[in-house]
């Protein structure tokens, strides 16, 4: 569904993403993990059009995203949440969701303004928003200002805004960051409930417990490259991943502990693990 094809991102002399190729399949949850600076967020930002792509292709179906202006990427079926919440604070939760359903093109906009399309279309959009809010347990907040909600609720509103337009690819950029244990548990249930045959989900996360619990496949990145790809069990057992992370095999608990907190930056020693190529 979503395919990275030899994607590279160069910031000056730094290759933040270096010749990355992998495919994200629909119906499953793909986690992308790796220490800070591994290039995970850069990858998401390129797919979503926030960063330009230095070389390579990013495809949703047959559509090459790197050629599209940012707003067209959403119409191509890719939507995202942000590492730092980016809601429309001054607008109601309901309006936040309606933004994702605004018809594109001048003619539909003008028709809607003058009520030429009738109230039915606008009403249908609103109902859709209410349905998504209800599904994520946010029905009671529909009329509240998004900026006035608690952090955890804002994270969920962002998730709601990302899924209301029925995307084919959903990029979740650290959805659990800053959430407490209960909220993370709730988020986990919501993400699992969103899993659908036509939806490819990409989860970028530092919470290893969450990742191991819900991911169907895991892509390990390090220094801009893909280090390994496989199921949670594969990754746990992969000594080379462990080596790449900590320089010694068999220390999965340490990996989890280190990756859990963003402050515990995992450092990599020169030359280690960089020769790994996925099969």
């Amino acid at each position: 569904m979503l395919r990275f094809d030899h994607v590279t991102k160069q910031f000056g002399a730094l290759k933040a993403v270096d010749d990355v190729s992998f495919e994200v399949k629909p119906g499953i949850i793909t986690a992308v993990i790796g220490p800070n600076g591994a290039g995970k967020s850069t990858l998401v930002n390129m797919a979503a059009g926030s960063y330009s792509v230095s070389s390579g292709r990013i495809l949703v179906g047959e559509v090459e995203l790197q050629k599209l202006p940012k707003h067209r990427i959403a119409h191509a079926g890719l939507s995202r949440t942000y590492q730092n919440i980016r809601l429309f604070d001054g607008m109601s939760v309901l309006k936040n969701l309606e933004v994702a359903l605004v018809p594109s093109g001048i003619a539909p906009l003008v028709a809607d303004t003058f009520g030429l399309t009738g109230r039915a279309a606008a009403e249908a959009r609103r109902e859709k928003c209410h349905a998504v809010l209800a599904k994520l347990g946010l029905a009671a907040y529909a009329q509240r200002n998004a900026g006035s909600l608690a952090y955890g609720q804002q994270k969920l509103v962002e998730l709601a805004r990302a899924v209301v337009c029925e995307p084919r690819v959903l990029l979740l950029d650290e959805p659990a960051a800053g959430l407490n244990h209960g909220e993370t548990e709730q988020l986990k249930q919501h993400i699992l409930a969103l899993r659908a045959p036509g939806l490819a989900m990409v989860l970028i996360e530092h919470d290893m417990k969450l990742i191991m619990a819900i991911s169907d496949t895991i892509v390990v990145m390090n220094r801009g490259r893909v280090l390994a790809q496989g199921t949670a069990a594969d990754i746990r057992a992969n000594t080379e991943v462990q080596e790449a992370y900590l320089g010694q095999p068999g220390a999965i608990r340490d990996i989890e502990a280190a990756a859990r907190g963003r402050r515990n930056r995992v450092r990599l020693r020169e030359g280690e693990g960089l020769t790994w190529h996925q099969p």
């Binding site: 059009g49 926030s50 959403a74 939507s79 995202r80 980016r86 429309f88 594109s104 606008a122």
Partner: protein, 327 residues
């Protein structure tokens, strides 16, 4: 939740509320002598200008300091197309559309290059545009008669109704204000309004949600300019004289103040702001020497005490309708 958000509107109350105020204004107009009546006309004209500028500044959050340019384009449309200047005498209704159309076109043409700019940069460029138009009017002697302006402009007739007295214009302006009010309210409540609000709140996130921000900003700029142009046509018809002096930066500033003082993004705010900003200087005429000082102090006080304006964004017509319908 849905029913709470969209209560059934009592149509009788809604219609009464919508009709009561304009009807009252017209009744009052019949009892006013000429001078206060002219002031009332100007209040309504600035209210419409405020409603127009609100689309760009209040809804989309783009500071436009050159709005007077569109007003000038409308005014000169009537002055040139219905006067002895070129001996063209087009009907008022037609020029109303031409003036609005030309202003809208100018808005879009200005918008294409400058809407990539944000915040202060956009404000400065629009300010420059306003000045360019004024300087053009001042120097294109062959076309606009330069600083002397264009006098002896035709009397406007609208489908056989001659607009001669300030009372005639009061009727016209009440009608225009009602149409403009309903129009901007519709924009606010429609998908376009949602898109503009998203642009105002976070342009990048709006793009991420699939909003073509350049396009919706252009639509906002164009519509707002059209309203400014229509106001200009009426202004020229009312004064029957135009000169570049009427379209200085000060005018742009007054229109911005109308909506900032009244309440950004709120159509009621434009009405209240226009009333205060036009009426207060007139009332202060008795203290002519201190007039601008008092005026300035009053503005500073309003901004300090109520930074969101006298009527905040959330208390617009939809809020009123909910109150009337729910009560």
């Amino acid at each position: 939740m849905t029913s709470e958000a969209h209560p059934r509107l009592n149509p009788v109350r809604g219609a009464a509320a919508l009709l009561a105020v304009p009807a009252l204004v017209l009744v009052i107009g019949h009892f006013l002598p000429t001078y206060p009546l002219r002031v009332l006309d100007m209040i309504l004209l600035y209210a419409v200008l405020g409603l127009g500028l609100n689309i760009v500044v209040g809804y989309a959050g783009l500071l436009d300091l050159g709005f007077v340019a569109f007003y000038a384009i409308g005014a000169y449309s009537w002055a040139l197309l219905a006067s002895g200047q070129f001996d063209i005498h087009l009907p008022f209704a037609l020029v109303l559309f031409i003036g609005a159309g030309l202003a809208g076109l100018a808005g879009i043409l200005l918008g294409i290059p400058v809407l990539r700019l944000r915040g202060d940069y956009l404000a400065i460029v629009t300010l420059g545009f306003g000045e360019i138009i004024r300087v053009l009017m001042n120097n294109l002697d062959g076309l606009t008669n330069g600083p002397q302006g264009i006098a002896r402009i035709d009397e406007a007739t609208l489908f056989g109704w001659t607009l001669a007295t300030p009372l005639d214009f009061l009727y016209l302006l009440v009608g225009l204000l009602a149409v403009a009010f309903l129009f901007v309210w519709r924009i606010q409540e429609s998908a376009l309004g949602t898109a503009l609000a998203a642009v105002r709140e976070d342009q990048d996130a709006a793009r991420g949600c699939g909003i073509d921000t350049t396009r919706v900003k252009l639509v906002a700029f164009g519509t707002s300019a059209m309203i400014g142009g229509a106001c200009g046509v009426i202004f020229a018809a009312m004064q029957r004289f135009v000169s570049p002096e009427s379209f200085t930066f000060w005018e742009s500033l007054v229109i911005v103040l109308v909506i900032v003082v009244g309440g950004l993004g709120n159509p009621f705010g434009a009405l209240l702001g226009a009333t205060l900003l036009i009426l207060v200087p007139e009332l202060l005429r008795a203290w002519a020497d201190y007039r601008l000082l008092l005026y300035g102090m009053a503005l500073v006080l309003v901004i300090l005490a109520r930074p969101r304006g006298l009527i905040a964004r959330d208390y617009g017509p939809s809020w009123l309708m909910r109150r009337l319908g729910g009560g």
